[in-house]
């Protein structure tokens, strides 16, 4: 120890929600002028801990010390006064306000806006120069990209004179290039003596930017280590509590007959905006085509059209036969009858009915099948038996199909959806964000199941915003940007850098130049 008081010290923090112990006796010291990573699976208690620090929750036990002073943080106002700034995963910006208006929101100096605005404008210029935080103060939030919006969130915190900046999963919505820019900003802030806490579940980020890393597992702080003295493998084991396979173990693909052919697909959304601008692609039996892209570039719409959730124009053939894209047979049920199974991107909103018991969910979308019905009524015994079997085969925990879907963790919810879709033995499986919000242990299992289905000779279309997942799972990678295909690559012949540039919309020449 260098005699300096820690910027933040938490001592013995505990917090329970009902019977769930979200934080158990957590102690942590964050030294000033460092970047401190907090890593852990979903539900490990990272966000709860930070919410306590920011005054959203009150800890059941334990103390917070800011720069050596014991500090009570009953609400977020107190946190701001103590010099803590928070950048949330989901930005809290007013879409139809300008950058400047958002920055002063809640920190206006008086009844009149004018003086606050001009003061903020001056400071913003200064901050932009100091930290490479360039944003146009007069741009409307709705007109700037997510990377820029995130910078506005950081500016908001700095404008409130935050010395300690907490970022919750900051790179979830960014391209690799934007993420790199963010990390440069963080380095700059660190150089100016700011303290940064970076919450993430991505090992790569931890290794790249942090000085120290704390690992959380099931509400406990399992280790705090110097980043330079650890490895991704060790951190993963600390997070999960056992050895894990970080890369997917798979044989080369053996593509066979053409299953899916998409030709010149166009989608116009309800606001009249073109979301897909003539997409063409194909997937053969026995291969996985991965669609890489930053969220919001049309990949969701592509999955929705294929899954029968959205209408489109163009041509899609499955096993050589065209699909109905707008008419009576363009719904999800008709798609299932054509041998298309769909693991939707948002399992809690679409894939499951959270208030239904798990046994009711195992038939969702297939509830009209004869096997689940007996005369006028649904066959509850058959449903429950089927659910019990799926729970065993997909290792769903807790092994109790009577519980409501919302009582399962993200990974186990995903296993319920996968079990339902994979066991229909589809010709084509659509998978959206298979491991979003899923813990590392379950990721391994889910990836294996997807590869097994491929090896059984099925076609798989994978959409994921996790580049690592795309690279390790796909047999071919197609990059989507702004509703258009930027090209295809083989995973063995590309890397994150090239894909990242393609995801940002750069053409071949631009990539050469950069």
């Amino acid at each position: 120890m260098n005699g300096l008081a820690p910027a933040i010290e938490l001592k013995g923090i505990s917090k329970a929600f009902g019977p769930v112990q979200a934080n158990k006796d957590i102690s942590i010291r964050v030294m000033p002028g460092t970047i401190h990573g907090i890593i852990g699976e979903n539900g490990a208690g990272k966000s709860t801990l930070m919410s306590i620090l920011y005054g959203f929750y009150k800890a059941d036990a334990g103390d917070v010390f800011i720069s050596g002073q014991k500090t009570a943080i009953p609400d977020s106002q107190a946190a701001i006064a103590a010099g803590i700034g928070m950048v949330f995963q989901h930005f809290k910006l007013v879409e139809n306000f300008t950058v400047l208006e958002n920055v002063i929101l809640g920190a206006e100096d008086g009844a009149r806006l004018g003086p606050s605005l001009s003061k903020a404008r001056k400071q913003l210029t200064q901050l932009a120069a100091d930290y490479e935080l360039n944003v146009d103060p007069d741009a409307l939030i709705e007109n700037i990209g997510v990377g820029m919006q995130q910078r506005v969130e950081i500016l908001k915190a700095l404008y409130r004179e935050a010395d300690i900046l907490i970022l919750d999963e900051p790179t979830g919505v960014l391209t690799p290039a934007e993420a790199d820019h963010l990390f440069r900003i963080l380095e700059g802030l660190k150089a100016q003596g700011k303290t940064i806490i970076l919450i993430t579940h991505k090992l790569r980020e931890i290794m790249e930017v942090t000085d120290t890393v704390s690992v959380m597992r099931r509400g406990e702080m399992t280790a705090t280590v110097k980043t330079s003295e650890t490895s991704p493998q060790e951190l993963a084991e600390l997070m999960v509590g056992r050895k894990v396979l970080l890369r997917v173990d798979k044989k080369p693909a053996e593509p066979k007959d053409m299953v899916l052919e998409v030709d010149n697909l166009e989608v116009v959304d309800s606001k009249g905006v073109k979301r897909l601008k003539g997409i063409s692609l194909n997937v053969r039996a026995g291969e996985i085509l991965g669609i890489a892209g930053v969220a919001g570039n049309g990949q969701s719409e592509l999955l929705e059209v294929l899954g029968g959730v959205r209408t489109a124009t163009g041509m899609i053939r499955v096993n050589g036969q065209p699909l109905d894209l707008t008419g009576k047979l363009s719904d999800g049920r008709s798609r299932r009858e054509r041998g298309i199974a769909h693991v939707p991107e948002d399992r809690q909103r679409e894939g499951l009915i959270m208030d239904f018991a798990a046994w009711e969910n195992v038939a969702f979308g297939y509830h009209h099948e004869d096997e689940y019905n007996a005369g006028l009524l649904m066959d509850q015994a058959a449903l429950k038996e089927d659910a019990a079997g799926k729970f065993t085969r997909f290792d769903v925990r807790p092994d109790n199909p009577m519980l409501e879907a919302k009582n399962f963790s993200g990974g186990n919810q995903q296993k319920i959806v996968l079990a339902r879709e994979i066991e229909r033995n589809p010709d084509l499986l659509l998978v959206g964000q298979p491991t979003r919000g899923v813990d590392i242990g379950a990721i391994e299992f889910i990836h294996q199941r997807i590869v097994e289905l491929r090896d059984a000779g099925k076609a798989i279309l994978l959409v994921s915003v996790e580049l690592e997942e795309i690279l390790s799972l796909s047999d071919r990678i197609a990059v989507i940007f702004d509703g258009q295909m930027m090209g295809e690559r083989l995973p063995s012949e590309t890397d994150e850098k090239e894909l990242g540039l393609m995801m940002a919309g750069m053409t071949g020449q631009e990539r050469e130049a950069s």
Binding site: G18, E350, M354, F356
Partner: protein
């Protein structure tokens, strides 16, 4: 994770809500200078103390079971059907047409035909707002309210201009023929040797209401349609993902809902008045909302809540009859029950949940 056990959710919390409603009603009665315990005794005696009282309580309860079930079924599909009043009124028209213009040989056949007419007219009246919601995006809350007024105006027109017998001044239809007269509860119970006061309006429709409760239970929780309906009600995006047509579900759910509301007319029009009069529904369509809320949209809960409101109706009438407590106060008591069981549910729920959490931690 369920914070409170199921029994607390469906028994304890409504009981506390009810107690609070009665407690505050008691304070109000005290404030106008009457004895709340005396008032309560009068209500209980008047509504439940004699078979005569029960004959009225169960009659009202039958109305509320139908309208409560109607709201409950729509609730499961996340549709708020406020049009029970109009749908029941149209159901009355269906009953009247069936009874007035077809000479039925026996009341049993008349009952079946009238039930069909009541349900069909009620369902039809509900499917118009349903269609507007499903296809045009006009919210059913707004349109069903509007349709209550349209129903009232339509009935007014039909009664005054079409169904009113020549020479009468009363905007009501002719009396139904005797062959369409339903047996009362008193007839039925006396026939099997159980003494029950005559001249009470409760009738065989009560049995149909009980059957409707069971049928709705099976519909919602055991059939494929109910499964789709609940799935749609819980998550519209999920229903779309599963290929469940929102148009179909909205239309069917509202049709069933309207049909149930319409069935109420067998009780009040065919069973009691034996002719169609203006404003025969008397607000039962709206009480159905409170009944469904209090009954947690479960048919058994609806049954219990309907009996409670039947008690409040009948007991309230007794109160107005025998004390100087004005009739308006009875409405206040009903309003308090609705307020506490419906709108202020969260006020009681939060502390109860906290107590259960503390108990669990202590254990």
């Amino acid at each position: 994770m369920q914070v409170i056990p199921r029994w607390a959710d469906i028994v304890l919390i409504p009981a506390i809500n009810l107690f609070l409603a009665f407690f505050i009603s008691g304070l109000v009665i005290l404030a106008i200078g009457e004895d709340p315990f005396e008032a309560l005794k009068l209500m209980v005696d008047g509504a439940l103390g004699s078979t005569y009282g029960w004959g009225f309580t169960l009659y009202y309860a039958t109305n509320f079971i139908f309208t409560g079930l109607a709201v409950a079924v729509a609730f499961h599909a996340a549709l708020f059907n406020i049009g029970g009043e109009g749908q029941a009124a149209l159901g009355g028209l269906g009953v009247a047409l069936m009874c007035l213009f077809i000479p039925w040989p026996h009341w049993t056949i008349a009952l079946i035909a009238a039930s069909f007419g009541a349900a069909a007219f009620g369902a039809l009246w509900a499917t118009i707002p349903a269609y507007l919601q499903a296809k045009r995006g006009s919210h059913v809350v707004i349109t069903t309210i509007m349709f209550n007024f349209i129903a009232a105006a339509l009935l007014n027109y039909v009664l005054v201009n079409l169904l009113r017998p020549a020479g009468t001044m009363d905007p009501a239809s002719a009396k139904f023929p005797d062959a369409a007269s339903l047996p009362t509860l008193s007839d039925m119970l006396n026939a099997i040797g159980i003494p029950f006061a005559a001249r009470t309006p409760a009738n065989i429709t009560l049995i149909i209401a009980l059957i409707a409760c069971v049928a709705v239970y099976y519909l919602i929780w055991r059939t494929k349609l109910g499964y789709q309906l609940r799935a749609f009600g819980k998550s519209e995006p999920a229903a779309r993902y599963a290929g469940i047509s929102s148009v179909k579900i909205i239309m069917i759910a509202m049709a069933i809902s309207g049909g149930l509301a319409g069935l109420m007319a067998i009780n009040n029009v065919m069973g009691e008045a034996e002719r169609l009069i203006l404003n025969s529904v008397e607000g039962a369509g709206f009480i159905g909302i409170a009944v469904a809320l209090m009954g947690r949209s479960h048919p058994f809960g609806v049954l219990l809540a309907a009996i409670l409101f039947g008690f409040l109706y009948q007991g309230g009438a007794e109160l107005a009859l025998w004390t100087s407590i004005p009739r308006d106060l009875v409405v206040v008591i009903q309003a308090l029950v609705i307020l506490f069981t419906g709108a202020l549910d969260g006020m009681v729920r939060a502390p109860v949940e906290r107590i259960f959490l503390m108990m669990r931690k202590g254990a």
